[in-house]
C-alpha cells in the first residue's frame, strides 16, 4: 500500500494482521494453477539463457573465457558501450530534470504538452534510428543545414563517414529519444514531493540549496535510481539505434556489445568468446537488477 493512502480505506486490524490477510488470498488449491504458466515462462527466459551461454562458452578450444580475453573487437565494443552509457545517461538525466522544471506547478494544458513530449520515448528505437539516419545525411539532411545556419557558413559534417561524428550521431539520437523518458519520471517524482515538507522548509527560511538537498533530493531519489537503472541497462545492451544508423560502422568503429554479438551470431563465428561475454553480462545484470528492484520496491 502506498504511504499516502486515500482516506477512504486504510488498514483493517493491527499491522501484522493486515500483512497476513489470509482471508483474501486465493485459496490454496487454485493458487498453483494461477502461478504455474507464468513461473514456467520466467524460469525459461531467465535460467535457460544463462545455462546455454555457459554451455556454449565452454565448447570450443581455446575455451570461452580465454578466447574472451584475447578478443580485441569485443573489448573495443565493450569500451565504446561503456563510454556511450557514461555520456548519455547523465545527459538524459539532466535534460530530463531541466524539462521537468519547466512544467512544475500549475500550468493549464500541461497534460497535452507532457503527452506530446513523451512520444519519442515510446516510439520504436528502430524508427528513431531510421529517422535520424535521414536527418543526419551528409548531403541532404537538415541537421547539417541547421548547423550551417547557426554557424553562419556551410557545414559538412560527415556523420556517416567519420567515426567520431558517427559516435556523436548515435549519442544524439539516443539522448533525443530517451530524455523524454527521464522527463516523465522526474516530473512525476518532483510533483509528488510532499508539499507540507516544502512549506516547513520555507518557514524555516531554508535557502533553495538546503531545501533541495534536505527535502527534494531524498524524495525523488527512488525515481532517479530506477530511471538510472533502467536506462543504464538499456544503454549497455544498445542495439536498435546503432544497427540502423551506422550498422556499427564505419569500419566497425561504432560497434556496441550487442551489435558484435549479433553479427557473430549470424556468422556463427567466435561463439564461445561471445557466449562467455554473454554469460558474464547476464549474471551481472540479473543479480544487480534483482537486488536493486527488491530494495526499491520495498513493501510499504
Amino acid at each position: 500500500m502506498s504511504a499516502g493512502d486515500t482516506n477512504i480505506a486504510v488498514e483493517a486490524g493491527p499491522p501484522e494482521a493486515r500483512a497476513k490477510a489470509p482471508a483474501v488470498t486465493p485459496p490454496r488449491d487454485i493458487r498453483p494453477w494461477l502461478i504455474l504458466p507464468a513461473a514456467a515462462a520466467v524460469l525459461i527466459v531467465s535460467l535457460l539463457p544463462i545455462a546455454a551461454t555457459l554451455f556454449f562458452s565452454l565448447q570450443q578450444s581455446p575455451g570461452g573465457f580465454e578466447a574472451l580475453m584475447a578478443d580485441a573487437r569485443l573489448w573495443g565494443a565493450a569500451r565504446r558501450t561503456l563510454l556511450l552509457t557514461a555520456l548519455a545517461l547523465p545527459a538524459e538525466l539532466l535534460f530530463g530534470l531541466a524539462l521537468a522544471g519547466i512544467f512544475l506547478g500549475r500550468m493549464p494544458g500541461k497534460a497535452v504538452f507532457v503527452s506530446l513530449l513523451a512520444l519519442p520515448a515510446l516510439v520504436a528505437p528502430v524508427i528513431s534510428g531510421t529517422t535520424w539516419r535521414i536527418l543526419f545525411d551528409n548531403d541532404y539532411g537538415p541537421v547539417n543545414y541547421i548547423l550551417g545556419w547557426i554557424a553562419g557558413g556551410a557545414v559538412m559534417a560527415l556523420w556517416t563517414n567519420d567515426p567520431d561524428f558517427a559516435f556523436s550521431a548515435i549519442l544524439i539520437a539516443d539522448v533525443w529519444q530517451w530524455t523524454p523518458f527521464m522527463f516523465v519520471l522526474m516530473l512525476a517524482a518532483l510533483s509528488n514531493v510532499d508539499r507540507s515538507q516544502l512549506e516547513a522548509a520555507a518557514i524555516d527560511d531554508a535557502g533553495p540549496w538546503r531545501t533541495l538537498y534536505g527535502v527534494v533530493l531524498p524524495a525523488i531519489w527512488p525515481a532517479i535510481a530506477i530511471a538510472v537503472l533502467i536506462r543504464g541497462l538499456d544503454l549497455l545492451r544498445l542495439f536498435d539505434v546503432v544497427w540502423v544508423l551506422t550498422r556499427g560502422g564505419p569500419e566497425a568503429q561504432t560497434e556496441t556489445l550487442s551489435t558484435v554479438a549479433y553479427e557473430r551470431l549470424i556468422d556463427g563465428s567466435e561463439t564461445s568468446a561471445t557466449a562467455a561475454m554473454a554469460f558474464a553480462v547476464l549474471v551481472v545484470v540479473s543479480l544487480a537488477a534483482t537486488l536493486a528492484l527488491a530494495r526499491l520496491g520495498r513493501e510499504r
Binding site: T6, N7, A9, E11, A12, E16, P22
Partner: protein, 391 residues
C-alpha cells in the same frame, strides 16, 4: 439472533500474543461492550469472530455450533471496522446495499432497507454521493448503515464512533441504543470511551493482554473491581491508590500507609481472613466517595481527614481537589463551593466502606470476609479520628 460462546481463544502474530486464552459468552440479544487499552486484543477478537483471522487455538460457537472453519460469508455477522472501508467507485446507497443482493434480497426490499438504515444513521441526504466527497465521520456512518441493513446474527463494532465529533457521537449513541431496544441485537461493541461503554452496555468486558480481566454489569466493574487494573481503568476520575501494609490489632484492622506511617482504620471484617499482618496492600479510594464534612462527627465507617488543598480543578458544579495523605497526592471530588482557593484546609470524610483493597503484588482485589459485607453497612463502628503520626 444468536448467542455467542468464545472459549480459550489464542492468536499470536509472530512473537506477539494478541489473544491468550480468551473466554467470553454473549447472550442472545445482549449488547456487550468490550473495553481495554491498546493492544489488549479487542480488534483481533472481533476479526476472529468475523472469520477474518484464523485462530491458533480455542473455539468460537454460535448457538452451540462451532464456526471456526466457517468462511466469513457463511457466518452471517456484520462488522464495522475501525477505519471505514467504503468502495470508492460506489455511491453511498450502493455501499450500504453492498452484499444484499448476494444474499438474495429483492430490489424493492433493498431500497426500503437502505433508505431506512440511512435515516437511522443520518446519511439519507448523502445517498447519491461518492465516498470521496464525504468526511471521515460521514464515512463511518455509512459503514454503520451498511452493517445494520442486514439481518445479521451478530453485530461487531470496532470503535465505530471514534471519528465523530461530540455532538454527532451522542446522537449516534442514542440511535444505536434505540436500535438495540427495537431489534434486540446481539452485539460486541469495542470502544475506548468509557462514557459510551457505560451508556450502551448490557454488560461490560475489560480486556487486558488478550484475556478477560473482568466482566459484568457496568456498576460491578465500577464498584467491585476485581483487580487494581480494573479499578484504575474506569471512572473519568481515577481511583486513588495508596500503598501500605496490613496492621491487625485488638482495636480493629487498619492499613498503615507506607509513606509517613499514617494508620487508616478499616471497617470490621473488611480484610479477608487470610490477609496476614504486615502484608503489602494498596488502598483504593475513589474521589466520588469523599465529601466535605458536614456533620459534627463522621458517620460510621468514615475517615475524617484534615486536608490541605493543593490543587483545585473545576469541572462545572464540582471540583477536583488534590491534597496529600501520607505524602501521596489524593484527589477528591467535592462540590464547587466546598473549597475556594489552594492552601485552604478542609475536613474531608472518606467513606471507607466503599474503599477497595488490593494485594500489592498480584493486584487482585481483596474481598471482605463473607459475613462482613452485610454487617459492614449497618455496624455501628466507632468513629475514628486520625492522628497523623508524621506531624
Amino acid at each position: 439472533m444468536a448467542n455467542l460462546v468464545i472459549s480459550g481463544l489464542q492468536k499470536s502474530f509472530g512473537k506477539r500474543n494478541a489473544l491468550s486464552g480468551l473466554d467470553l459468552t454473549v447472550q442472545d440479544g445482549e449488547f456487550c461492550v468490550v473495553v481495554g487499552p491498546s493492544g489488549s486484543g479487542k480488534t483481533t477478537l472481533l476479526r476472529a469472530v468475523a472469520g477474518l483471522e484464523r485462530v491458533d487455538a480455542g473455539t468460537v460457537a454460535f448457538d452451540g455450533e462451532v464456526v471456526n472453519d466457517l468462511q466469513p460469508r457463511d457466518r452471517n455477522v456484520a462488522l464495522v471496522a475501525q477505519s471505514p472501508a467504503l468502495f470508492p467507485y460506489l455511491t453511498v446507497f450502493e455501499n450500504i446495499a453492498f452484499g444484499l443482493r448476494a444474499r438474495g434480497i429483492t430490489r424493492a426490499e433493498t431500497i426500503q432497507r437502505v433508505e431506512q438504515a440511512a435515516e437511522v444513521v443520518g446519511v439519507y441526504d448523502l445517498l447519491g454521493r461518492y465516498p470521496r466527497k464525504l468526511t471521515d465521520g460521514e464515512c463511518q456512518m455509512v459503514a454503520i448503515g451498511h452493517a445494520i441493513v442486514r439481518d445479521a446474527l451478530l453485530f461487531l463494532f470496532d470503535e465505530p464512533l471514534s471519528r465523530l465529533d461530540t455532538v454527532r457521537r451522542e446522537a449516534m449513541r442514542a440511535a444505536l441504543k434505540r436500535l438495540h431496544q427495537e431489534r434486540s441485537m446481539t452485539a460486541i461493541y469495542v470502544t475506548q470511551d468509557q462514557m459510551e461503554a457505560l451508556n450502551l452496555a448490557d454488560r461490560i468486558v475489560l480486556l487486558r493482554d488478550g484475556r478477560v480481566e473482568q466482566e459484568g454489569v457496568p456498576i460491578d466493574l465500577f464498584e467491585r473491581p476485581a483487580s487494581r487494573f480494573v479499578a484504575g481503568f474506569f471512572g473519568p476520575l481515577k481511583m486513588n491508590f495508596l500503598a501500605g501494609t496490613v496492621a491487625r490489632g485488638e482495636g480493629g484492622d487498619a492499613v498503615r500507609l507506607a509513606n509517613g506511617g499514617m494508620s487508616v482504620p478499616l471497617p470490621p471484617n473488611r480484610l479477608p481472613k487470610d490477609a496476614a499482618d504486615g502484608s503489602a496492600v494498596m488502598l483504593g479510594l475513589r474521589p466520588e466517595h469523599m465529601m466535605r464534612a458536614v456533620r459534627v462527627s463522621p458517620p460510621d465507617g468514615t475517615l475524617r481527614y484534615e486536608a490541605e488543598i493543593e490543587l483545585i480543578q473545576p469541572t462545572g458544579s464540582r471540583v477536583r481537589a488534590t491534597f496529600r495523605m501520607g505524602g501521596e497526592p489524593v484527589v477528591a471530588e467535592l462540590q464547587a463551593h466546598d473549597v475556594s482557593a489552594p492552601g485552604e484546609k478542609v475536613s474531608i470524610d472518606i467513606n471507607l466502606k466503599r474503599a477497595t483493597l488490593f494485594d500489592a503484588e498480584t493486584g487482585k482485589a481483596l474481598s471482605p470476609t463473607a459475613s462482613a459485607s452485610a454487617s459492614a453497612l449497618v455496624d455501628g463502628a466507632s468513629p475514628a479520628h486520625v492522628e497523623d503520626s508524621a506531624g
